[in-house]
Symmetry: C3
Subunit: 398 residues, 3 copies
């Protein structure tokens, strides 16, 4: 499955025409062909790099990153992806730039984009804001491109919003596909996306939402588990439900971690904040009610603390399929006795899966590169073929 | 006028020899040929990029940016220009670097320049300081180059100082030339550089000064309008006066915005701080007199508030030539009811000119690239010809 | 000695096989061949650049820099070196990244390294920490490479730790070699690495340690001078002693600056903090004892102030060999009457040596580039030969 010729052939058979000059904001806005093409291009770019072949498709051009939240993994993944394709990363540091609100989103989007080929945005803090902001930027540059202000259409990559975390979910999925030897082996597999306890509060919902929104497309039995009160956005559950219906899989919800893990082939235990609380927090920030925010924080921490038993223990892992479910996490994890006293996962479980966890993360640069590649190359298969033929070395070799 | 062959021919006829290995600090230090060549090279670089031809002239090398004031537009323009030509931008963040004063300007300038081809500096906060600082840096690297410390002469681009904002004024002018179909159509046109009210205070003088210092070179009637007390640097007025004298245009000053707009072909309404107040502020900072600064700020805001009627209204716009003067601004503007209650311009005026305003800004990356290009290439016309012949694609195309 | 053909021939005769895919952490971990090869490659890369030949060996790839202390010189040297070879610098700003301690060094090291070819780290603040941290990072990426998490082995360059400052010492040494016309002319030369007074406190020990650890390898008489109580790490003195023994030179210690300067061919007067005090400070930080730190600081400043006579004066310079010893410093220096009232060096001495001092600094980018080059190219001589043959221009030339 993973030789370059087959991958290129595969890509050529998929319809990716709508990806051209388009953004990647939510996985469920993408067709099955488009999702499949993204995995295939990511794998192809990796194979090329492993063969020391450069896949630069840009000779110059900027990749702009705008992080409204701290980030290591995604920041470096975006930088790596841009660099792999030949774009130079330029950070839009809002502190240094004094970006204002309202009218100026449109203005700023154009002002930074005169030579931008791609814009990557992380804006995951406030419910109802992040994805909306990305669409504002997208509409602005689309209009700028249409009226000739911009010579090229900068395409957007969602590096995590309030709704989805597509580069994470896609990297996770590519990891699953590789681990199970192909997407065709996933039918009937059980994946548990489970809430887990963390001493910190307010972690974004975009990971669990991204996971159920994407993993439900491959015929798997997707179980979302969380304590009562930790619901995710209902719209995304609806997406998962519909996806599952179409592919012969299932999407179910439970308030028992135990039930979710029972016989699971894949487990993804991770903390998140209740959707409803995040909405309240967003409103409190909107009103500048700092007392309210502090009160909410205390309340949430107390609430969390009632569910310390939601941890990925060795005991729970034993109940998974043959006791060997693939343990996944977007990292960094809250590891018992390591990064916190009590957290999402027991240290021995985490340690056993360290290598696959790191590999899981390693798909992200390629997934982002594939998203950019497909938004810029109208004939991805032919271009990849030509890149291989060109045979430009990434690192000088005699 | 704007095909590549003609532009290259034009450039070949202009004398740009003094630009080679030289800085771009003030437009009025540049000959007419040099100004014309900068526009022509900027246009040529744009045409090449529009044809997907890479104009990389550097295979490696650094473009160093030093911003002593917040910036989005100019920061990204400089980064874009460097990237277009093949230089990697490296920010000199003085916070992280602890650059000291006095002796060490010379030292730091050399220390960062071992592989620097260009240094872009914004230093616009203090009267009598910014431009002077740039010249110190320039002298330091010139000496370093002469004595062999530096293998190449890093050239400087003034990204805004206390006196001039050449990349802004040149981009604005290129916009005017394109809008009016050529520099030959500008004779006798009236341009109003007018003060306008803003609720913020202390905006640099470099934009109005840059505009009157440059626009007075093309046979236009340049009118500088401002309330009493908002004078700009007398030296720059003198430059404008002399320029106008030489080109059959005129430079006049008025305390009436109405008079300035009357029959104007181009209007540039923008707030700035009075020169004399900026001098006082510079001295107060020098003395560390924070109380004095706060007092001055209050005084200036109160002063400003007396001139809220200095706004670019629809009514005023109607009095311009055929009611259709080209509205210009360096952005961001203070828009009534949008970014402030009362400000420089009525929202409907701004909205009508949004597209040209964004395009105006779009000239800046190319202007900066042209400045770098001309300081690095001894035979710019031949090099551009060769770049076209080389035909290296910017974005991979089958 | 310094033509390209000879340098390449020389490099071909040296055994550099252990440098391949390896780090550069301490000069005394490197064989004489490896040290010699680093100088030769640095010189060769400089010659190539002076001939406008690009020495890019990477078509894409990241060079990651992690500065846990302010830096201008080394930051720009690292950026220049990466850029020269074709790597894009990506800063790991720990503030923006929230890198945690313990377990996560391993994790972070892998997470940032998926497309990293080199990692440069400055971590010089705490005794017993910096070098250790680098080795943790190195072990982490080595393991990641071995188990396939990382497709390439990112190699480390020590940009200053608590023990050594190899890029500084190597650049300094290359400067000495060039000044004296070859390493063969250094036998019997006297070099004085001397403490000097500075009004600031707590300067790292890595420079004096780096100097005695490296300079003792070339048959010179290395004298380390400092007031009582300003001892450096005993392990490094031991290194210097052993080195000197092997090469027919000597390593001695004195508490008299005068004695050290007497007849010296090279002097390196520079402030540093006492090793023992730095250990106490490290422990106080570990215990979070801020009062203790403040007390220690006062004590150290008072201690320093007793040694204001340790300054590089004209008078002292006269006592050096023919009164013309080469004055060296890693910069910035504390210059009497310039950057402080009383400091390390008299202004007239510093001024006389400004040009060589700046040139001294200019070796650093090439030394770093050579370290990267040798860790990435298995056949450095052949690669350099091919780079020359390839003849790719760094700056476009007709």
């Amino acid at each position: 499955m993973y030789n370059l010729k087959d991958l290129i052939k595969r890509i050529g058979e998929l319809n990716t025409s709508d990806m051209y000059l388009n953004d990647f904001l939510l996985t469920w806005e993408k067709s099955d062909d488009e999702i499949a093409a993204t995995f295939a291009v990511a794998d192809a770019l990796r194979l090329l790099r492993e063969q020391n072949i450069s896949s630069k498709i840009f000779d110059s051009g900027l990749g702009i990153s705008l992080f409204r939240d701290n980030s290591t993994r995604t920041r470096f993944s975006f930088a790596s992806a841009c660099n792999l394709l030949g774009l130079e990363v330029q950070d839009l540091d809002e502190g240094k730039s004094q970006i204002a609100h309202g009218e100026t989103v449109r203005e700023t989007a154009n002002m930074i984009s005169f030579m931008a080929d791609v814009i990557g945005i992380r804006d995951d803090m406030y419910i109802g804001k992040g994805n909306k902001y990305m669409r504002e930027v997208s509409a602005a540059v689309q209009e700028g491109y249409k009226d000739g202000t911009l010579e090229q259409r900068p395409t957007l990559v969602n590096l995590q919003c309030d709704i989805d975390h597509p580069t994470q979910a896609m990297a996770d999925m590519d990891h699953i596909i590789h681990t199970f030897g192909g997407v065709e082996n996933l039918k009937g597999k059980k994946i548990a996306m489970s809430w887990a306890y963390s001493p910190s509060y307010g972690k974004p919902l975009s990971v669990p939402q991204g996971i159920i929104g994407l993993m439900s497309r491959f015929g798997m039995d997707v179980v979302l588990a969380h304590p009562e009160g930790y619901e995710v956005m209902p719209e995304v559950e609806e997406v998962a439900r519909k996806n599952a219906g179409k592919t012969g899989g299932s999407f179910t919800r439970t308030n028992s971690m135990k039930e979710a893990f029972e016989g699971a082939d894949i487990v993804y235990p991770k903390s998140w904040a209740p959707f409803e609380a995040m909405q309240r927090r967003t409103n409190l920030y909107g009103e500048g009610d700092m007392d309210g925010i502090q009160k909410l924080e205390k309340e949430l921490l107390a609430h969390n603390a009632q569910h310390k038993d939601w941890a990925c223990t060795e005991e729970l892992m034993k109940t998974t399929n043959a006791g060997k479910a693939l343990y996944m996490h977007c990292l960094p994890a809250d590891i018992n006795g390591v990064s916190c006293d009590e957290g999402e996962v027991e240290a021995s479980v985490f340690d056993r899966y360290r290598e696959p966890l790191y590999k899981e993360a390693g798909y992200k640069p390629y997934i982002i590169a594939a998203m950019i590649f497909l938004s810029k190359m109208q004939n991805p298969a032919e271009v990849l073929e030509n890149i291989e033929k060109r045979g430009q070395k990434r690192v000088f070799k005699l």
